[in-house]
C-alpha cells in the first residue's frame, strides 16, 4: 500500500487505475479527482504533503 499524495489515503498500487508520473516517479491516487489535483500542481502536494480531500468526488 502507498499513500495518495493528495488526500493521504492508502491506495493499492496494483489495483488503482489512477496513476501519474512526475519527474521519474509514479504516484498513485484513490480517484480521478485526486489525480487531477496533483497534475495541476504537483510541487504543492510534494512540498506540503497530503491535505485531505478538499474537493473530493464532487459532481462535475
Amino acid at each position: 500500500m502507498v499513500k495518495d499524495p493528495v488526500c493521504g489515503m492508502e491506495v493499492n498500487p496494483a489495483e488503482t487505475p489512477y496513476k501519474t508520473v512526475y519527474k521519474g516517479t509514479v504516484y498513485y491516487f484513490c480517484s480521478k479527482h485526486c489525480k487531477k489535483a496533483f497534475e495541476e500542481n504537483p510541487e504543492y502536494y510534494l512540498k506540503h504533503g497530503p491535505v485531505g480531500m478538499p474537493h473530493m468526488h464532487k459532481e462535475e
Binding site: 489512477y18 508520473v21 473530493m56 468526488h57
Partner: protein, 810 residues
C-alpha cells in the same frame, strides 16, 4: 411520514473513499433520511421515504457515481392478464412491496419481470402478492430460461378460443341473417317468435363467448379500474338486457337487439383469435434463437463417450461435436477442425474454418469435420443464452412514449363510459328519439371504442422489431434509445478497435544514441510482455519473431493508462510510451523529431523507448482501418450526422487516420478516463450524442452517451455497457442499428397515431353525430367489427417489421 429501511449489497467498491462518495450521493437525494455505507461489508443501509423517492432512483443514484447494487431478477408467467390496463395495476401493486427495484408487466407476453433486492424480498413474496390480487401465476423463473412457456400458453389459448369462436360465429351469424332477411319483409317461418329465437340463439354466445369479458370487467372493477372488457360487457350487456325487457313486454320497442350483442361478441372473439395467431409470430425471432440451443451433448465421462442432457454438461467437460450438429456449449477446440456456420448469431453466411485452440460458441453449427471442445461456459452463461435473455428483456421494455399511452389508456375506458352516458342522455332526454335508438347509439359508442389498439401499438412493434434486430445481430437493450435515435446530432467513434481492426502491427523501428534496432525490440519486449495493451502485444508479437532466446524478468513493472509502461530491468529504468510519459522522465526527444513527424503523417502510432532517461529509439505501429469504415462514415454523414473520432492517440496520427476514413472532426490525446467528459461537454452544448466503442473499455462513455453502441466480438454480452450491442464484429451494424431503431420508432408512432385517429373519428359517428343529417346509424355489430379490425391492423402493421432490411447503399 413512514420511512422504510433498505439494505443493499454494493458492487464495485475498491477504496474507502467510494463509501463516502456513495453516502454523499445518497444523502443528496430528496426523500433519503439517512444513508450509511460500510466499506468492509460492501453494504449500504438507506432509510428513505417511499412516497418521495423510489428504490429504483436510489439504485440509479448509486450507479450514477459508478457503482452498482446486487440485484436479482424474477420472471413470472401470468395466465390471466389480458389487457393493457391491467399492466399498471399489477406494476403498482408489486412496486409497493419493499425491495422492488423495477417491475414490468406485459399482457402481450403474459408475464411480469421483476428486479428486486434479494436482501429484502423474495420471489415467493412477489408471487403471493400477485396471486392475492387475483392473478394466476403459472410459472416462476429465477431468470428467463431457455424454455418457451409463453408460446405454449398462447397456443393453448388459441386452441380454446378457436372452439368458442366457431360456436359464437355460427349462432350469431345465423341469427343475424334470419333477422336481416326477416326485416327486409321476406316471409320467414316462426317470424312472430323472432324475439324468443333471438333470445335462444344469442344467450349461449353471450354467456360462453362473453364470459371472458364479464370476468375481465369484474376484475377491473375490483381494482377500481375500467378496461376494454368493461366496455364490451357494458355494450353487449345493454343491448341484451334491453332486448330481454322488450321480449318480456316490460318495454315498448319495435325491435330487439339480441343479434347485435351476439354478433359483436363473435366478431371481437374472432379478432382476438386472429390477433393471438399473429402474436405467436411476433415472438418468432426469439424462438428461432432458442431452437439453436442443443438439447443434448456428447461428453467424455470416465474415458467414455456418453450422451447427457444439456443441463448436465459442466465447465471443463470435453464435448464431442459431429458434422451437422449444433455446438452445445461455448468452449475452445482441443482436437480436430471443421467449418462452423455462425450465421444465426452473426449473420455471416460463410462457414468459418475453426482449428485447435479456436473458440466456438453454443448455437453455431458444425458443417463438416469433427471437434472436441472443452466447455468454458455452459447453460445460461453462454453467449447464446445471454443474447436470448437480453432480447426477451428488451421485448418487455417500454419506451417513454408508452408510459404516456399507459396513462391515457387508464382513463380511456372511463372517458368512453362518460361519452356513452352523455350520448344516451342527449338522445333520450333532449332529442327525445325512441328508447331503442338511444340504446343503439349508446351500445355502439361502448363497442367501437378501442383501447386495445392503443395498448397493442407499442408492444407489438417492439417485440417484432427487437426480434428482427436480433436476427441481424443487433441487441437493443434499452428502449429509451428509440426516442433518441431520431434526434441524434453527433456520432462519436472510438478509434482503436472500432474504426480500426484493433490488430495493430509494428511497421518501423528506429534506433538512436548508439542503440541498434534489435536492442530496441529486446528492451521493449521485456518491459511490455506483462502488459495487456494491444500496442504492447503488437510489440511482443514482433519481438518474438525477431529475437530468440532472450528473456529477463523486470524487477519492477507498472503501466500508466493512456501513457505507457515503466519497468526496471537489470537495474536500468526502461520507459516506453508517449510524449507525455517521456516528459515526466525528462527524456530528450529532439534527435528523432523529423522521423516521428513523418511516421505520424502516415497514420502510424509512435512509441518511444527510453533507457535511464535517454532515448533509445521509436517503434511505429499501424492499425488497418476496418472494412466498410469509409462507407459507414460517409453514410452517416449523408444522414446529416456529425461524425467524430475520439482517441488517446497523438493528434497528427489520428488526423491521418481520420483523413483516410473521411472523418473531419478528431478529438485526440484523450486519456481513457476523460472520454466521458468529452461526451458530457458535447451534451452540454445541446448535442444528442451516440458513442460507438468497446463495451468493456469504453463502458463509462457508452453509458454517458445518449445512445451507446457497443461493438461486439465480446463474449460477455450481458456485461457490456451500451444501449445497443452489436453481436457481429462488423461496423455496418452501427448503421443497421440506428436504422432499425428508427424504423421501430416510426412504426410505434404510426400505430399510435392511427389508433388515436380511429377512436377520435369513429366514436362521434357511433354516438350518432351524423344521424340528424344523414340518418346514419352505426349498428353495434359494425362497431364491434370495426374495433376487431383495428386491433388486427395494428398487429399486422407491426408484423411488417419482420421483413425489415438493412440499407443497401452502404
Amino acid at each position: 411520514m413512514s420511512t422504510r429501511i433498505e439494505k443493499l449489497k454494493l458492487v464495485g467498491m475498491h477504496c474507502a473513499s467510494c463509501a463516502v462518495t456513495i453516502e454523499k450521493k445518497l444523502k443528496s437525494l430528496k426523500g433519503v433520511v439517512s444513508a450509511v455505507v460500510n466499506f468492509a461489508s460492501e453494504e449500504a443501509e438507506v432509510e428513505y421515504d417511499p412516497s418521495k423517492v423510489t428504490l429504483k432512483e436510489i439504485v440509479n443514484a448509486i450507479r450514477d457515481v459508478g457503482y452498482d447494487v446486487y440485484k436479482e431478477e424474477a420472471y413470472l408467467t401470468i395466465q390471466n392478464i389480458s389487457s393493457v390496463e391491467e399492466e399498471p395495476i399489477i406494476e403498482n401493486k408489486v412496486r409497493s412491496l419493499p425491495g422492488i427495484i423495477d417491475v414490468r408487466a406485459s399482457h402481450v407476453a403474459k408475464s411480469l419481470s421483476v428486479t428486486f433486492n434479494p436482501l429484502t424480498t423474495s420471489i415467493n413474496s412477489i408471487k403471493e402478492l400477485v396471486e392475492a390480487i387475483g392473478y394466476k401465476v403459472t410459472s416462476v423463473k429465477g431468470e428467463i430460461e431457455i424454455e418457451d412457456i409463453e408460446s405454449k400458453i398462447l397456443r393453448e389459448e388459441i386452441a380454446k378460443l378457436k372452439k368458442i369462436v366457431i360456436l359464437s360465429l355460427t349462432l350469431a351469424l345465423s341469427l343475424a341473417i334470419y333477422m336481416m332477411t326477416g326485416s327486409l319483409g321476406i316471409k320467414l317461418p316462426y317470424w312472430e317468435y323472432r324475439h324468443v329465437i333471438g333470445f335462444i340463439l344469442s344467450t349461449p354466445v353471450i354467456l360462453i363467448g362473453g364470459y371472458r369479458f364479464f370476468i375481465g370487467a369484474y376484475k377491473a372493477l375490483k381494482n377500481r379500474s375500467a378496461s376494454m372488457d368493461t366496455l364490451v360487457s357494458l355494450g353487449t350487456g345493454t343491448a341484451y338486457v334491453f332486448s330481454i325487457a322488450v321480449m318480456a313486454g316490460l318495454i315498448e320497442s319495435p325491435e330487439t337487439y339480441f343479434e347485435a350483442g351476439a354478433v359483436v361478441i363473435a366478431f371481437i372473439l374472432l379478432g382476438k383469435y386472429l390477433e393471438l395467431k399473429m402474436k405467436i409470430r411476433t415472438g418468432e425471432a426469439v424462438r428461432k434463437l432458442m431452437e439453436l440451443q442443443a438439447k443434448k451433448a456428447r461428453v467424455i465421462r470416465n474415458g467414455r463417450e456418453v450422451e447427457v442432457p444439456i443441463d448436465e454438461v459442466k465447465v471443463k467437460d470435453i464435448v464431442i461435436v459431429k458434422p451437422g450438429e449444433k455446438i452445445p456449449v461455448d468452449g475452445i477446440i482441443v482436437e480436430g477442425q471443421g467449418y462452423v456456420d455462425e450465421s444465426m448469431l452473426t449473420g455471416e453466411p460463410i462457414p468459418a474454418l475453426k482449428k485447435e485452440r479456436d473458440p466456438v460458441v453454443a448455437g453455431t453449427i458444425l458443417k463438416s469435420g469433427s471437434l472436441k471442445v472443452i466447455a468454458t461456459r455452459v447453460g445460461k452463461e453462454t453467449v447464446l443464452s445471454q443474447i436470448i435473455k437480453l432480447v426477451r428483456q428488451a421485448q418487455m421494455g417500454k419506451p417513454p412514449i408508452q408510459r404516456l399511452v399507459d396513462k391515457v389508456a387508464g382513463y380511456f375506458a372511463w372517458i368512453v363510459i362518460a361519452i356513452a352516458i352523455l350520448t344516451f342522455s342527449y338522445w333520450y332526454f333532449i332529442a327525445s328519439i325512441p328508447l331503442n335508438l338511444a340504446i343503439l347509439f349508446t351500445a355502439s359508442v361502448l363497442l367501437i371504442a378501442c383501447p386495445c389498439a392503443l395498448g397493442l401499438a407499442t408492444p407489438t412493434a417492439i417485440v417484432v422489431g427487437v426480434g428482427r434486430a436480433a436476427e441481424l445481430g443487433i441487441i437493443v437493450k434499452n428502449m429509451e434509445v428509440l426516442e433518441k435515435i431520431p434526434k441524434l446530432t453527433t456520432i462519436v467513434f472510438d478509434k482503436t478497435g472500432t474504426l480500426t481492426k484493433g490488430e495493430p502491427e509494428v511497421t518501423d523501428i528506429y534506433a538512436v544514441n548508439g542503440y541498434k534496432e534489435l536492442d530496441i525490440l529486446k528492451i521493449a519486449y521485456v518491459a511490455e510482455k506483462r502488459s495487456e495493451h494491444p500496442l504492447a502485444q503488437a510489440i511482443v508479437r514482433k519481438a518474438k519473431q525477431a529475437i530468440n532466446e532472450y528473456d529477463a524478468e523486470p524487477e519492477f513493472f507498472d503501466s500508466i493508462p493512456g501513457q505507457g509502461v515503466i519497468a526496471k530491468v537489470n537495474g536500468k529504468t526502461i520507459v516506453i510510451g508517449n510524449e507525455k510519459l517521456m516528459r515526466a522522465y525528462e527524456v530528450d526527444l529532439t534527435p528523432i523529431t523529423n522521423i516521428v513527424r513523418k511516421l505520424r503523417e502516415d497514420g502510424k502510432t509512435v512509441i518511444y523507448v527510453a533507457v535511464n532517461g535517454e532515448l533509445a529509439g521509436v517503434i511505429a505501429i499501424a492499425d488497418t482501418p476496418r472494412e466498410h469504415a469509409v462507407h459507414v462514415v460517409s453514410y452517416l454523414k449523408r444522414k446529416g450526422l456529425k461524425v467524430v473520432m475520439l482517441t488517446g492517440d497523438n493528434r497528427v496520427t489520428a488526423k491521418a487516420v481520420a483523413r483516410k476514413l473521411g472523418i473531419d472532426e478528431v478529438i485526440a490525446e484523450v486519456l481513457p478516463e476523460d472520454k466521458t467528459d468529452v461526451i458530457k461537454n458535447m451534451q452540454r452544448k445541446g448535442e444528442i450524442v451516440s458513442m460507438v466503442g468497446d463495451g468493456i473499455n469504453d463502458a463509462p462513455s457508452l453509458t454517458q452517451a445518449d445512445v451507446g453502441i457497443a461493438m461486439g466480438g465480446g463474449t460477455d454480452i450481458a456485461k457490456e455497457a451500451g444501449d445497443i450491442v452489436l453481436v457481429k464484429n462488423d461496423l455496418r451494424g452501427v448503421v443497421t442499428a440506428l436504422e432499425i431503431g428508427g424504423a421501430i420508432r416510426r412504426k410505434i408512432v404510426f400505430n399510435l397515431f392511427w389508433a388515436f385517429i380511429y377512436n377520435v373519428v369513429l366514436i362521434p359517428i357511433a354516438a350518432g353525430a351524423l344521424y340528424p343529417l344523414t340518418g346514419l346509424i352505426l349498428r353495434p355489430e359494425f362497431a364491434g367489427l370495426a374495433m376487431a379490425l383495428s386491433s388486427i391492423s395494428v398487429t399486422a402493421n407491426a408484423l411488417t417489421l419482420k421483413k425489415w432490411k438493412p440499407p443497401r447503399n452502404l
